[in-house]
């Protein structure tokens, strides 16, 4: 637990109260939960420097599913952030251009708008900055901004849709605007009305006894010091291994996390705390994607972050609570994409394996 958070908890009198009191009655637990967490809001959150309009969202939906943003014409945002499987790809690390594997587990796009920053190391300040990354990454979509813009400009329907989504701009078809449209679409990919959300807004019956016990443990044991807010995480950076670093099979030595962004020694093996919304849908876990079982992930967090071997019943209760974070998945109509033209840069695929 970071000292700042510990102080915050101690100041609130929560740790002491909870560690000494018995199981809280429903209302007290609800009140306490509301001190640390927020329900997913009913309205789309404002996005910095990018007003979310229907026109942008519609264009962004098309671009999110657009394989021609990749060099191969095979890979779209949805390939690794599959809206049908929790907004991620359920792979240890993603498969990209040429069947290369990415270095880290793909985070879910659902509720990502609520994160403090994007990527496991927070190197993108928001979703529009994030959207530019995979399009260019050699192991992902392997494209270039120039080639993306040439592609979009070669397709008259896209030119028209960009003009409508970015009215008054002299040259609306830009890599930046591509990212803004995708961000606008992604800002709508939220999963409200989970059992935990219903609990937060007053429905004491939304969690059963085990789930309540798990929520209490989650707060009491200190999980909440890194995993709080609307996304139950995703809002701060912490070392993986506050107390004890897990083995290299889970925390590979070569990936120093936020250190690679800040070059600060204190940030070696520091990562953005995982947002836990819909966590049951997004195995495998951690930036390394090495753990498939949610109970095992909880137990590892106990030893590495809290310095505590959680009991089986505690692990099961916390996991039961975490499953209450699964909300209503977004309903999305699959977009019909416009036709390319003779001016569209053609697909370029790497040679297949063994050739």
């Amino acid at each position: 637990m970071t000292s700042a958070k510990l102080i915050a908890l101690a100041t609130a009198g929560v740790l002491t109260a909870q560690l000494t009191a018995g199981p809280a009655v429903a209302d007290e637990l609800m009140d306490m939960a509301n001190e640390f967490f927020e329900p997913i809001p009913a309205t789309i959150p404002a996005v910095k420097d990018n007003p979310v309009t229907d026109e942008k969202v519609d264009l962004g939906r098309m671009l999110f599913f657009e394989p021609r943003l990749s060099r191969s014409w095979l890979i779209s945002c949805n390939t690794c952030h599959n809206l049908g499987t929790g907004g991620d790809d359920n792979l240890e690390t993603s498969i990209g251009h040429g069947w290369q594997k990415g270095p880290r587990n793909a985070p879910t796009v659902f509720n990502a708008v609520f994160n403090i920053a994007q990527f496991w190391d927070g190197r993108a300040e928001d979703l529009k900055a994030q959207a530019k990354g995979p399009v260019q990454a050699g192991v992902e979509m392997a494209n270039t901004p120039d080639r993306v813009v040439a592609t979009l400009k070669s397709i008259p329907e896209y030119v028209s849709l960009f003009e409508t989504a970015f009215p008054g701009e002299k040259d609306p078809v830009t890599f930046d605007n591509m990212a803004k449209a995708i961000e606008a679409f992604e800002a709508k990919l939220v999963t409200p009305n989970s059992p935990f959300d219903r609990f937060l807004v007053g429905d004491a019956t939304a969690l059963d006894a085990t789930e309540r016990q798990g929520l209490e443990l989650f707060i009491d044991k200190g999980c909440v010091s890194c995993h709080s807010g609307v996304n139950v995480g995703g809002n701060g950076y912490f070392p993986f291994g506050v107390v004890e670093r897990p083995g290299a099979e889970i925390l590979p030595a070569g990936d120093k996390g936020r250190f690679q962004v800040t070059k600060t020694a204190a940030e070696e093996y520091v990562f953005r705390a995982g947002p836990l919304r819909n966590i049951e849908l997004t195995a495998p876990y951690f930036h390394s994607g090495k753990v498939w079982d949610l109970e095992q992930a909880v137990a590892i967090m106990g030893t590495s972050q809290l310095g505590e071997e959680l009991g089986d019943d505690e692990v099961k209760a916390i996991t039961a609570f975490l499953r209450t974070l699964t909300g209503e998945q977004p309903e999305v109509e699959y977009p019909i994409l416009p036709l390319e033209t003779a001016d569209t840069p053609p697909p370029e695929a790497m040679e297949p394996l063994g050739q």
Copy 2:
């Protein structure tokens, strides 16, 4: 042109009439078109041995987008038969497991229910037989029937959906039923109300003068002898190179087409005539996927199948007609897929390139 078709045309008195008469007036052309073609029907066609029910269609939609039908968990039916880009992948040949490339261009899934048989060589008699192919092909989804069934049975929601879609069956979660559900969904992937359909049912204004000229040429020159019926093709097998085989850059010598199915020497380089519905959306063309330009494809058909160097204006007119075959693309809601369990066989990916 095959002799059977030539005889059919001659018997109908069409060739003679058309080759000697001048441009037909609209009604005559419409009448003639109705002798060779049929509009896309308003109701879902019956599917052999597989009544199309809402429950099957809903399950089939999920399975069509289900990446866990592939060994890698990356590839679904929609990867190569992308419903957003004309029901195909716009690649020369598809990219599959381990970034391997398939041997032939992926045909569109749209209106495939109207084809006489599936695959370029017709080796699958219908869509349920077809659906089993790519799932097992080593260069595509690289899975096995046993592993697919184990996957589906490990996911309680799928078990329940199969029970509902195949009521009364003792063991409904089978590889065959997976294929039947996909077939039921695909039977709904039709694209009605193209300009040509509107023309066929009586709207003389649906085609402009050039498109009418193209339609006349399409009939007069004999294109119609292979490309007729509701799918303007897809209903018979013909040599690629009736008159003159195209070069190996377009007709690779190693792919002998239907010969590989029937082992009959007469069927060397015989393929199912391409269905031309939505043809403008499904470049690149031919089983080899070597031709991106529709006008070039038409010109090649002229020399290889008709033994005739079509004039530029003829090529342009025929191409204009072909563009009237683009219908309303199906609207599909992206499915929310059920969660795997600890019993689900995990993804197995090949090593990336160069490793």
